[in-house]
Symmetry: C2
DNA sequence: GCGTTCAGAGTGAGCGCTAACAACATGCCC
DNA sequence: GGGCATGTTGTTAGCGCTCACTCTGAACGC
């Protein structure tokens, strides 16, 4: 190939006009081919495609974004954490978005406070994203969102179902209800709960579902043991609970808490499930291999991700802004950490 | 299509000329203020800033990118997984990049094969990213990278240290050596190894470090038990090892494998650490709460992330393309899963 | 025959910005 | 005062695209 392009490296990338010249058409025709417009003769289309191929032409997105005012960019605001749920969700979302031809730009915030979230959203607006997804699992995150102008498609994940706007989340309450109900059904008089941080909607929802199941069964509602999501805090809560002989069933707000509880129980010689039954939440892949395989509740993070994307894309294309909620029900996964009470 | 936008703001976003008009200067002066050029009178600068504030003006990045040919975008290619290491790394990288004013666009690939990676890299080139980071932990990923044109700053993470190019990774060999050495020091005759998938460089490096420690100690080198990174596969490998009475020490290629092994040992009534000692790798936050708190090796993912970013940024600004490797040494975290052999 | 339609092209403007240069005032030297 | 550097600002020309046009010729109806 010793033709016109013989000059070395420093030449600029080929532009649409270069393709047009090579194909013997106008730049507009190249644009039409690229954007799949009708009214281009098949033969012309082929010539253009060949020229594109030959030059290794790639459209300049910046130029397109400049003139159209739109981009194929989706901004995501997420917390800086490696928690299983948000992580799974984000990975699934990125994959799904890529499949739809969208680029995902992720902005992590160190803490979920008003100003950090506002700044992250502002950043995405600066980038002229087509839409924004905010993983807003806490009240503070949610408040920050209330201040965000509604002129940009925005979908909240794991946010407050009671808030307006577009939202996708898991039915925490139903999951917690099922977990608690399962323990009651096994014959326990009541169920104790080690919760996540109470300013998280997920944690609050799980508390509600747990309470509801107890109340409907006329069971005593014991005090909540508050924790964060970590195994360490589960361990600490478990140390307390392990000293209380009447505790025979525990619903932990996630699997890592359950792991910590499991360890505390073992240390104190209380066998799970024979003396204490335990249910977790999330179904992390490891939970089947805990020293007692864990009965837990599995949210479908893939489904949350695809729902989020489809909701966002529909808002991007229609400009819709009215509230829309998609709430997915998790399923109970039964393993070996639940048994009837000993006596 | 109805254009009933939520807000009345049907008028277009303010542009630089609008700011200029309000401030009584030319658009070029606005540009100078925005880009921190010298040679703008303080008074003028203030007037411009006030006008920007008043109009809520935000620069159009697409226009800037179009004219400069540069963007403040970093593309990341990552695998679709929730493995602790890559996840931690990615989160830390996103945070660090944001702090430097860069936007991170993540492209997930379903499998780490040649064509997927090539497509992901192409996608980023289409976006005219300033640089690319590829998390390339397997041979196939690495091969794909060999075909990528070198005209764009690219840093590989977790790739093959023997390959040229810019690379940041953890010294797997040193970590595995330390883990194995620690078990030998405890008095074990030899150490068995449950490895990660052998096409992963991490896994291969850990195997090498383990072997080296054994060889230097003139210990027998038992066959490797191959697994993937999951607790499930660790459990399967553990079932085998638990039946072999002469197995008294195991180095697992990561903590989740160790968890599976732990469970298999427990099922068979072999106590950890009294009958079998066990060391993991990664130091996942839960590993301190396993039924036996796990002695493990901790890579500093934050450091990997910041090293990656600094290496990439330096290449972006200097245009450097010669090989550069940054290899970080992990540290051994001692807990309770290692003890002297029983007899 | 002439007008009408329409597929299949091309032309020109302009999106919002930066870079290069021009223009002008100011201060300073000799 | 002329010449010249220096600081400050304005003017102009694109970057590579899409959009709204215009233009052309063939098909078709009456």
């Amino acid at each position: 190939m010793e033709d016109t392009s013989a000059t070395v490296g420093a030449t600029r990338d080929p532009a649409m006009t270069d393709v047009a010249r090579l194909a013997g058409v106008s730049h507009q025709t190249v644009s039409r081919v690229l954007n799949g417009h009708p009214n281009v003769r098949e033969q012309t289309r082929l010539r253009v495609r060949a020229a594109i191929e030959e030059l290794g032409y790639r459209p300049n997105r910046a130029a397109r974004a400049l003139v159209t005012g739109r981009s194929q960019l989706i901004g995501v605001v997420a917390q800086n954490s490696t928690l299983y749920g948000p992580t799974s969700l984000l990975a699934a979302f990125e994959l799904a978005a890529a499949a739809q031809g969208f680029t995902v730009s992720v902005r992590r915030v160190r803490v979920l406070d008003r100003s950090s979230i506002a700044a992250a959203v502002e950043h995405h607006r600066d980038q002229r994203v087509a839409g924004i997804v905010v993983i807003a699992p806490t009240a503070s995150a949610d408040e920050a969102l209330a201040e965000v102008p509604a002129d940009l498609p925005l979908v909240t994940v794991d946010g407050d179902p009671k808030r307006g706007g577009a939202l996708v989340t898991v039915d925490q309450e139903a999951g917690a209800f099922a977990a608690t109900r399962h323990l009651l059904d096994a014959g326990h008089d009541t169920v104790w709960h080690v919760s996540g941080p109470v300013d998280w909607f997920d944690a609050a929802g799980r508390i509600r579902g747990w309470q509801k199941a107890l109340q409907e069964a006329d069971a005593e509602v014991p005090p909540v043991s508050p924790a964060d999501w970590s195994a360490a805090s589960g361990y600490r809560a478990g140390q307390m609970l392990s000293r209380m002989p009447d505790v025979t069933a525990i619903f932990a707000a996630n699997d890592h808490l359950a792991l910590g509880i499991l360890r505390a129980m073992t240390e104190r010689g209380r066998s799970v499930p024979h003396e204490v039954s335990l249910v977790g939440f999330d179904d992390v892949p490891e939970s089947a291999y805990f020293s007692t395989p864990l009965t837990t509740v599995r949210p479908d993070f893939d489904a949350v991700a695809t729902e989020t994307l489809s909701l966002l894309l529909s808002r991007i294309s229609t400009g819709d802004t009215d509230p829309a909620q998609r709430i997915l029900t998790p399923t109970l996964i039964q393993r070996q950490s639940v048994a009837p009470p000993a006596n």
